[in-house]
Structures are given as C-alpha cells and as structure tokens.
C-alpha cells in the first residue's frame, strides 16, 4: 500500500510501546458488534496503473469543451488559463498547506490572500474583499444574510439572476424566514430595472441584481442603487463573469454596497461546476459583518511586515453560534489560481481580454441573429454572452441535436427554467477568446440547418 509508511515490523514495535496486543485492542471502545463489518461489493486496493486506466476510461466518456466548438456560459465560463497558473498552484507548499492559522510559517498563503483581497476589491470597486467563499451562489446568499444583519430587515428583492443562485437563496430563505420577491426574466431587451425598483419597499433588506444578468443584459446599477438607498436597502450585485469587469464600470463605483461573484473565469477552469471560487467585496463600514476569512497586514516581533487572518471574532471557530457564517474551509487554492491569473493579466491585460471577448461575441451574435428564425434578445448591449430566441423551437432540443453533431452551442433556458414555457425558446450563448472563427462558423451553419 503505497501511501502507508508503516511496515509490519513497525506496527509490532509500536504496539509493544503502547502495550496493546493488537490494533483492534485500540478500538476497544467500539461495540464489538459494529466493529469490522463486511463490506459487500467493494474491491480491494489497486495499482496506480489500474486506477489510472479506470479513471481515464470514465474521462473519455465525456465530451471535453476543448475538443468541439463550445459556447456555454450561464455562470461558468471557459477562458484560456496560462500554463504557469496550474504549475504554481501545484507547488506542494501551496497545495498541501492548511489554513494559515500559524502565520509564522504560512506567510506564502497569507500574502497571496492579501494580494487577492486587494485584486478583488479593486475589480469590484469595493473598499474591501474577503479571502473567498465556496462559490458565487453561496456568496450570494451569504450577502443576503449579511444585508439582513446590517439592515435588520427580512425582505429581499431579486432581479433576473442565475436561477441556481435564486434557488439557493430560496432554500436558505425557507429556513431563515426571509421573504423573497423576484423578477423572472423574459425574452426581451429590457433588463427589468424599473420592475425591480418597483418591488423595493421599506421592509427591503437588499436588492440583488446580476451584472450582466442571466440573459447577458446589463442592468443600470446606478439607478437601482439610488432607488434602494432611498428606501434604506442595500444593493447587492452579483457578477458571474468577472472578465466583464475589464470592460464594464465596477459595481462599487455605481453604488453597490456588497458585491459578490463567481471567480471561476480566471485561473480555475470549468471543472464541471466545482470547485469554484466565491468572491465577496463590501464597503469598509460593514467589515465586521462580513462572512468568511479576512487576511490583514501587521508586523511581527521584529517589526517586519507580515500578514495574519484577522477579525476572527466574526467566525465560527471563535464565535460559535454567534458567528457571521458557519463557513470554515473555503476556496483558498482557487483564490490562488485566480490571483495568479489576474497578476499575469494586470489591469491592462484584463481590459484587452475583455475587449476581445466582447468583439468576438458581437461578431458571433451578428452572424447568429442573421439566421432565419433567430432573434437576438440583447438589443441594448451585452458583454460576451447573449440570448437567442429560436422562434418556434424548444431550445433544449436544438441544443441536444447540436451536441449530437459535436457542437456545444449554449445553455438552453429550458434546462434552467423548467416551468417557464415563455423561456423555452431561449438559448444563452457565450463567446470568449477561446472561440475560433471556424467554431463560430460551424455553429452558425449547423444552427441554420437545424432551424430550417
């Protein structure tokens, strides 16, 4: 057993030191009738070669994004991740370290987190950011919970955000008794800002708006922020595609009080949905209401600059039932990957990457919208993701047929909104720098055929 360093001789010697006759003597507190059960149908250990063969066989049953024209987004985006990112996060000192509770020997992780927090805060236009959450959807409901702590209100107004995020928030609300009112999306150009604003009232703790929204439309954050603030509510902005902020004004600058997001776009990759990376920024005055870990600057006994986890009186391991969240392990390694990718890009690289994404998406949208029977919903602008209305067709079926032709064409709204028949014609298409001209042409031709 290649991972177990004790030899039979070691075990014998150690049992003698302990004064136990057998290993099972050490398990004497376990009732005999439940110790060492038979496990039916579970195989014994296997060589690395055999396990590798098994896992590769499973991997081959999946259609990898890199092997086909690929246009899926809707909360998970495929960008090119520089090879150095994966190299660096595999450094044993990063990969196999624990949460940096002993700062003297964890400055590597801690400095990265401090840099990460700064990067996220500047990207979001918030004063501060934390050291990461599980993912965008959990960060979103933590933001709602935080807004509740700040405002001591229990009304939540939610715009057309990713339905999984909404679903997650609804689950929590069932137990926290928050009252959610949401605006469902419709296949129209108007992102529904006025409708959202219309739902805000004096009981509203926060307004949650996705930027760009689930259909790729851009809400007018400044206007919504003003309306929310006028009622004493906070604006929570959700960003599922951080690359968009290379081009769009930051939510913080437009008045958002809390900005959360999914950081998977940079450094992390698709990974079939996880592990991902929750981003969380807020105004400085709310620092002590933040969930999750925070890394702060300080000095050591010699006066040298150093970093520590701080304000842990907010956290469960100190505060227990009074903590701001129950979160413990979060997404440190993904934060590292994000931060490295962001460091490679820098502000100017992000700007350029965003513009390329945008230009390619505009190019593809024009070609696609020219197909007979296809309408582009996003007439008022989009970043790298837009929604097509396939008039008279169930987009889910079209997407399936295209997948059979080895084209991953987009996310059909029917998958995300099973009950909303008015959305069934919607196909959310995302075009990043990884989409080639040939890939776009293949999609256009095939979609035209399918709709013909």
């Amino acid at each position: 057993m290649r991972y177990l360093p004790l030899t039979p001789d070691d075990r014998t010697e150690m049992l003698a030191t302990i004064g136990a006759g057998s290993v099972d003597a050490l398990f004497r507190d376990v009732p005999a009738q439940v110790l060492n059960p038979a496990f039916e149908g579970l195989p014994p250990h296997a060589s690395e070669m055999a396990v590798e063969r098994h896992m590769k066989a499973l991997a081959r049953k999946n259609l990898s994004a890199g092997d086909v024209p690929f246009f899926l987004g809707a909360g998970a985006y495929r960008h090119h991740v520089p090879a150095s990112v994966d190299h660096l996060i595999q450094r044993g000192e990063f990969l196999t370290a624990y949460t940096p509770y002993q700062p003297e020997i964890a400055q590597g992780t801690l400095q990265v987190l401090f840099e990460f927090q700064t990067q996220v805060a500047r990207l979001f236009g918030t004063d501060i950011a934390n050291a990461s959450m599980y993912d965008g959807s959990t960060a979103c409901w933590e933001a709602i919970a935080m807004a509740g702590r700040i405002t001591r209100r229990d009304g939540v107004v939610i715009g057309p955000i990713h339905p999984h995020y909404l679903s997650t928030a609804r689950t929590m609300a069932k137990f926290t008794k928050d009252e959610i009112r949401e605006l469902s999306p419709a296949l129209i150009a108007d992102a529904g800002d006025d409708a959202v604003i219309g739902m805000i009232d004096d009981k509203t703790s926060c307004v949650v708006v996705q930027y760009p929204d689930i259909l790729g439309r851009i809400p007018d954050l400044a206007k919504i922020a003003d309306a929310a603030h006028a009622k004493g509510a906070l604006l929570v902005t959700v960003v599922t595609e951080p690359v968009a902020l290379g081009l769009l004004e930051s939510p913080g600058a437009l008045g958002a009080d809390i900005v959360v997001g999914e950081g998977q776009s940079l450094g992390v990759g698709l990974n079939f949905g996880g592990p991902y990376l929750g981003l969380f920024g807020a105004r400085e005055k709310y620092t002590r209401q933040m969930p999750g870990r925070l890394c702060g600057e300080t000095v050591d006994a010699d006066g040298k600059r150093g970093f520590v986890l701080t304000l842990s009186t907010r956290e469960q391991h100190i505060r227990r039932e009074k903590a701001t969240s129950n979160i413990c392990t979060n997404s440190g390694l993904c934060a590292l990957a994000f931060s490295i990718h962001m460091t490679l890009l820098g502000g100017e690289g992000l700007d350029r990457l965003a513009r390329i994404n945008h230009a390619r998406a505009v190019y593809a949208a024009e070609k696609l919208a020219a197909i007979q029977g296809v309408e582009l919903v996003n007439q008022r602008g989009f970043f790298n993701e837009f929604t097509l209305k396939l008039v008279g067709h169930d987009a889910r079926e079209v997407a399936h047929r295209l997948a059979q032709r080895q084209i991953l064409s987009g996310v059909a709204l029917g998958r995300l909104y099973p009950d909303a028949t008015d959305l069934a014609e919607g196909l959310v298409v995302c075009v990043t720098e990884t989409c080639t001209d040939e890939g776009i042409a293949t999609l256009v031709a095939a979609l035209a055929e399918e709709l013909a």
Binding site: P5, L6, M14, A20, L26, D29, P31, V34, L35, P37, H45, A59, N62, G66, P82, S84, D86, L88, F94, T96, Y98, T99, Q102, I105, Q107, G108, T109, V112, Q119, L123, I128, H164, T168, T171, F175, T176, L248, E249, G269, L270, F272, G274, P275, Y276, T287, T298, V299, R305, T310, E315, N330, S331, G332, L333, T343, G346, A359, F383, L416, E433
Partner: protein
C-alpha cells in the same frame, strides 16, 4: 525571506498574457456602461510571476515538507495520481450545463463515489453537492429540519457537546435553531445521562462528533441515537473524524441520521491553504426524501441523469432544495474516487488502523512528559489530546506550539477542544512513518523539558521561521485588508534568500 507585494513590483504597463486578436472597440450599445480606465491592477510578465509565487510558496509549511499534526484537521499525504486524474480534460474541461449525454463519465464518477460513501457508512443516500464540511453540516441540519417540519413538528433546539467544532453551533444557529450545550463526562465523552435528561419535544436533534474532538470514540453512540429517536429527535454526526474509523465502523450501524464526510480529510483531497473542501452528506432512509438537489439517478434506459429543479416533482418532491449552483465539487470527487479506488476497502481499513496506531504511539510516548487528561481512560482514536497542566507557570500551550516551529514541525491544534485547559490535540495521520514520529516525539519531549527548565527563549519562539510571532491585536484593531500603498514597508530582501532567514 522577503518578497514584495505584486503592487510593489513595478507592474505598470506589463502583461504576462499575449493575445492574438486586436482588442475591438466597445459596441455602441454597451458604451454607456464601459469603464473609463482599466482596473488599477499591476501586471507581471511570466518570469516575474513564476518567481513571485515560487518564492512566496517557500514561506509556507506544508505536508510535503513535514508532519502537520493538526488534530481534527487531518493533514495526510495527498497522492499525486489524484491531481493528475482531476486534470484529465475529460473531467477538468467540461461545463456543468452540457447536455447530459455528453457528460456520462462525470455522472459515473459521482455515482461511483456516492456508492462507496453509502456503503462505507452504511447509509441510505448521499447528498453530494455540499461544498465543504460546514456546508455539509448545514445540509444535514436542513434535512433534519425539513423532515421534522414535514411531520409538522418543527422544534427549536439543537444539542451540541461542549467539545464540538465551532461550525456545529454556527450551523445550527444559521438554520434557525437555538443551540444548547451538553456536558461531557470526566473521561471526555458525551454525558449520556445529562443528554437524556434534556431530551423533550423541543429538541430537534443532537450534533455529535464521533470519534469526538478529544480523540475518543463515543461508546454510547447507539444509546444516544436510540434516546434521540425515542424522544422524536434526530442525530447528526459530524464526520470530520471519519478517517479514524473508515473501513472499521459504519456510522449507520450506530443509528446516525445524517453525517457529512470531509473528502479533504478522510479521502485526502488537498487542503490547498484553506480549501476547496467537499462535504457530501450521507443520510438515513428517514432523511433521504428530504435531500437537496441536484443528484444523479439512472433512468430506465440506464442513462445517468442529473435531477435538478426540472426533475424534482417526479423524483424527490420533498427535497429541501438547492444549496449551491451546479453539482458540487467535481474536482474533489475525482480525487477522492481515485484515492478510494487506490486504497480499496482493505486499504481504507488499514488507513484507519494506522491512523489510530500512530496516535496511540504518540500518546503513550509523550504521556510521561505532558499531561494527557484522558490518557488513563484507555486508548485514543486518531488523535492524542494533551493539556497544559504539566507546564510550569508562565509557559503556555502557545509556547509549545511555537517552539515546535523551531524544531521544524507544524504545531498541533491548540486551545481546542475547549473542554481541556490549554489543549494540544495531535493527529499524526496514517501517512507518517515511525521514524518521522520518533523525531516528532523527541522534539516534543525536548520542548516539554525546556518548559520545565523554564527556558525563557521558548516564550519568544519561533526564532527561525520566516516571521517571528505576529501582532494579531494590531491587525484586528485597525484592519488593513487591502493594499493602499501605505502601511508597513516591505522588508528589504536580506542576506541569503536561499533557504535562509
């Protein structure tokens, strides 16, 4: 060991990424949303980036460098095969919303892992999507709540032992429960009598860690479960320490209704400096109908399907709902399955046995030098608990911990569990060799002796780490959480950065 911040590395106007396409103009429709200037962030070229992070990494301790005997945290070796498998494009480069026929292999990974988890725990079902242990706890507690509410019996209180992880009460509170502590016996276990006495129609359930955070198996676990069930409550088991009994004991045999499994502890997915984790929750037959979505199910044609919002009505009408976007920590699933298949059921049993053997070896080797509060009560499980009782006045658990750094080891868990004064909780795990343990034990003995000899230098340890003790009060008093170009200046890169101080 000094490394500037990225903001101090002259990153203006640099970029470590090349682009083939020229950036286009912003489309007119979008123009009014466009930012005026790029985000104010430095860029570094690839050589600078690689060097920055490589140098930073060297300021970390890690399991690849030495033992990491953090009790309750389970820092064991992370096999490299797991990393390689998780990076196969067939796993790493697939989108969570691809048509289901194009990701059958991914579903199979989830299905196979789920089967192992159910069989290893003797439970009915498993919720795969929780993102980490605490998220799993929440899942379990929400399932309990949903089940109780479904029978019209919401209840208000969750009982938690004093020795519990902080996540337990935090979770219960988050789910809207009131938390009450249950006391421990003097041998470090749940006081069954006290617990039974507290049971009543207001008690929704109990959260028990087993083996518990004193490193002891809860002998009366079955009796606890029976008592809860008799009183109409349910039993949540914190599975953080499942690694001590995997392949040896099935929690389902002890009457547990829900238990999360930290894949990053028991099944060795890397901690990565603080996550990602993964916390699937196994559920009893009673709780299975209330499990969260999504989950994998085979349809009548044998095709695997992910049951999401769409399939709820037909497949799991009583689900308490969704806890996170998409399907859980796929990258951790592939690693954990790889680990499980590598060990097999015999290997997993050996894992538990060696973990327990190693811990008892440490316990018995050190109990002459340090106070082991429950040492007399019999063998420990996977971790050995000591207190500061034998330390002389003026010397603390923290001094031992920081002294351990100077000996080349990561400290043990300190001041936890709270039921022991100045607790030192040592979990060697099964992946430490006897030679390595002997070296660790020798270091601990040396520290205990230095403390007894009132060696003042111990109080200012560490002396040889990248940093001396850090001023945590200063950090918290006026928090500096982002770089603003002021604050403490960087250290001057000093003599000998090569393995030097």
């Amino acid at each position: 060991l000094e490394e500037p911040l990225i903001f101090e590395l002259n990153g203006t106007g640099k970029c470590g990424v090349d682009f083939d396409a020229e950036p286009g103009d912003v489309s007119p429709a979008l123009a009014k949303f466009a930012r005026k200037a790029p985000v104010d962030l430095p860029g570094l070229t690839e050589p600078e980036t690689v060097r920055h992070y490589t140098r930073l990494s060297r300021q970390n301790y890690a399991i690849d460098l030495g033992p990491f005997p953090l009790g309750s945290c389970t820092m064991k070796h992370n096999p490299r095969l797991n990393e390689a498998m998780a990076r196969l494009p067939g796993f790493a480069d697939i989108h969570p919303l691809q048509p289901m026929d194009t990701v059958q292999g991914a579903f199979e990974v989830i299905e196979q892992l789920a089967e192992w988890l159910c069989k290893l725990t003797g439970m009915e079902a498993v919720a795969m999507s929780p993102k980490a242990g605490a998220h799993g706890e929440l899942c379990g507690i929400l399932a309990i709540r949903a089940a109780l509410e479904a029978r019209g019996d919401a209840r208000e209180v969750i009982l938690v032992p004093e020795s519990a992880h902080g996540t337990n009460p935090a979770t219960a509170a988050f789910a809207g429960y009131r938390v009450e502590n249950i006391p421990a016996t003097k041998d470090g276990r749940v006081d069954l009598a006290a617990l039974t006495a507290r049971l009543g129609p207001d008690v929704a359930g109990v959260m028990i860690t087993n083996p518990n955070t004193c490193g002891l198996f809860e002998r009366e676990m079955k009796a606890i479960s029976d008592a809860l069930h008799a009183a109409g409550g349910l039993v949540y088991c914190d599975g953080a320490n499942f690694n001590a009994i995997v392949g040896k004991v099935r929690p389902g045999d002890l009457g547990v209704d829900a238990m999360h499994i930290n894949l990053h502890k028991t099944f060795s997915t890397p901690h990565g400096g603080g996550g990602p984790g993964s916390g699937p929750v196994v559920l009893s037959a009673l709780l299975a109908p209330f499990a969260p979505i999504p989950f994998v199910r085979r349809d009548e044609k044998g095709r695997l399907r992910m049951v999401e919002e769409r399939g709820v009505k037909d497949n799991l009408p009583q689900t308490f709902g969704r806890m996170t976007a998409f399907h859980g920590q796929m990258g951790m699933f592939t690693r954990a399955l790889t680990y499980i298949l590598s060990h097999g059921v015999d290997g997993l049993r050996q894992v538990a046995e060696d973990a327990v053997l190693n811990a008892n070896y440490v316990l018995r080797s050190l109990e002459g030098d340090m106070d082991a509060p429950f040492g007399k009560a019999g063998p420990c499980m996977h971790e050995a608990l000591f207190s500061d009782d034998d330390l002389p006045e003026g010397f603390s658990t923290l001094d031992i911990a920081k002294g351990l750094i100077d000996e080349g080891f990561h400290p043990m868990t300190v001041y936890f569990p709270l039921v022991v004064h100045g607790a030192m909780l040592i979990e060697p795990t099964e992946t430490e060799s006897k030679q390595g343990l002997d070296r660790f034990i020798a270091a601990m003995k040396s520290l205990a002796q230095r403390a007894k000899a009132e060696d003042e230098s111990l109080k200012s340890a560490p002396h040889f780490a990248p940093r001396r003790r850090l001023d945590e009060t200063r950090a918290a008093r006026k928090p500096v959480l982002t770089y603003k170009g002021e604050g403490v200046p960087p250290g001057t890169p000093s003599l000998s950065e090569i393995g030097g101080s």
